[in-house]
Assembly symmetry: C2
Homo-oligomer: 305 residues x 2
């Protein structure tokens, strides 16, 4: 098995990715009982690190997981993973799993929770050289797991619906997918939120979706452009009839969507508002209020704390 | 970290449970993109091994995972795990995960699927010495993930709804839980199916649930007693008003449920039909047509094949 170059933090130690392994008995695996967050580093700077750590801590608390580290300690661990990885651009994941009960009971309250972090090369939903062509998606009949079952605002690994949606899209000739809510609305795709633009108005779903930090960033950048995004259910027909569609994700930022179910969105090229947002999004990676230099974060007091 | 005594099979080798670890990058973990099955061994005999292997192979095929072993090879691997573990009574799990893409793409079709098996001590939802007292459950407002999102007949690790349901039950003083479908019906609990008995008629949910092998066994044992279980949606009120309720699971067989939301089921004691089934279930563990002696399964042609 091959591993991407990078550094992980587990059990108080920094290890190469090839050694970052969890027990097959960890409930984070056997019950997908875990939460996580992913922040990216671009040209040596974390992007909106505080927002990611804030959401991670809120997610953990909602599903009653103890991270075992406060926000400052988390920053130091993540920065140290990035430094040791040597990556200028990185995808930095923090995870807390339920762990295992030392008595081997079935009771999650008995488990010793487990924190893991790692930094690997930056990942893309759509590589920059494909950006002009844009993302092609299918709308799948597979429904996203409902909020009444699993709270989507708690970032989680319940992805079988998204993966089966991907296979559904592949079968229909599309390389990516968006799932629906079973009531005529689209919700989200594998790792991204969705925005539709029509006659200057912008809509993005708000229920049944992760409240992505890139989604938030897009909403804030739109506001700077004088456009207030409407956060409400987005109909399938509304999406198909949009002038412009874009996706947002930590794995690639603002991403134009140019084909849906093999039909062009608008004239099939990246829209003007999307282009403006893509540019602003990447320019924002030097804003002092949104970024933190990896090297400005203090070293860990002890490497093996 | 402590590990239960047992033996795992990974990467063609048999290893102690402490060494049975998967990469944190495996999509079986990061996307819960995996399927599994659990068969038990009781007094040195597998119980309904063929049914478990059949379901495991069907599950893998439905979500497009390649186990990499046929049924005979699977039997041999599982038997070897049990023999090496030394357990007379064991909980034997077989797993296939999506694995990781060697190019680190996000495309599940690129991944190299991964097979894992292990044998650990037999696990109980309710220990035999607690059987007379029975299982106490709460009916949670947390909804089970709908079949339109994730096919529940493909045994999967999407358990955050069940775990959050457990915490909901704990908060209300109940040690276990059953989830609902959001339309007034109960579906399943963490690792068990449910049956309700009223005036000699037996009902068990059929949609939105795993088609458990112990559930099937209970249906077949009931048939031997001249009772045909109705497989249809089971209303919450129907469950509360039942004369007898029982759960079925590989982790403990037929399990009497004696309290629901702190109210007794019937007179609060194990019901007569439930008692008959519990006895028949354990007696059935010597039936030649339902059991396979671990030592009757041939050794692996090569330990490290």
């Amino acid at each position: 098995m091959q591993y991407p170059p990078g550094t992980a933090f587990m059990d108080g130690e920094f290890v190469p990715m090839a050694e970052a392994k969890i027990s097959v008995l960890d409930w984070g695996f056997l019950r997908s009982d875990a939460t996580y967050d992913v922040v990216h580093v671009w040209k040596g700077r974390f992007f909106r690190l505080d927002k990611h750590i804030e959401r991670f801590m809120r997610s953990a608390s909602r599903i009653r997981l103890d991270i075992g580290h406060g926000p400052d300690q988390l920053q130091r661990i993540l920065a140290e993973c990035v430094r040791r990885s040597g990556h200028e651009d990185a995808y930095v994941e923090m995870i807390v799993t339920r762990g295992v009960s030392p008595t081997f009971s079935r009771d999650p309250r008995d488990a010793i929770n487990r924190f893991i972090a790692f930094a690997i090369p930056f990942g893309w939903i759509l590589r920059p050289e494909q950006r002009e062509d844009g993302l092609h998606i299918a709308i799948s009949k597979v429904q996203r797991i409902a909020p009444e079952a699993v709270d989507p605002t708690v970032k989680n690994y319940h992805w079988l619906d998204l993966v089966m949606g991907l296979y559904d899209a592949y079968d229909r000739g599309a390389p990516n997918v968006v799932l629906s809510d079973g009531a005529g609305h689209v919700v989200e795709g594998p790792g991204f939120n969705l925005f539709a633009v029509r006659a200057g108005r912008v809509v993005t779903p708000v229920t049944g979706v992760l409240h992505g930090i890139t989604r938030l960033t897009a909403i804030e950048l739109l506001r700077e452009l004088g456009v207030e995004a409407e956060q409400r259910p987005l109909g399938e027909g509304e999406l198909r009839g949009a002038d412009e569609v874009f996706a947002t994700s930590t794995a690639g930022g603002v991403i134009p969507v140019t084909r849906i179910d093999d039909q062009p969105v608008g004239d099939g090229a990246m829209g003007a508002l999307t282009r403006q947002l893509v540019e602003r999004y990447w320019q924002a990676h030097t804003r002092p209020e949104w970024t933190t230099e990896v090297d400005d974060i203090a070293a860990m007091p002890q490497a093996a704390e």
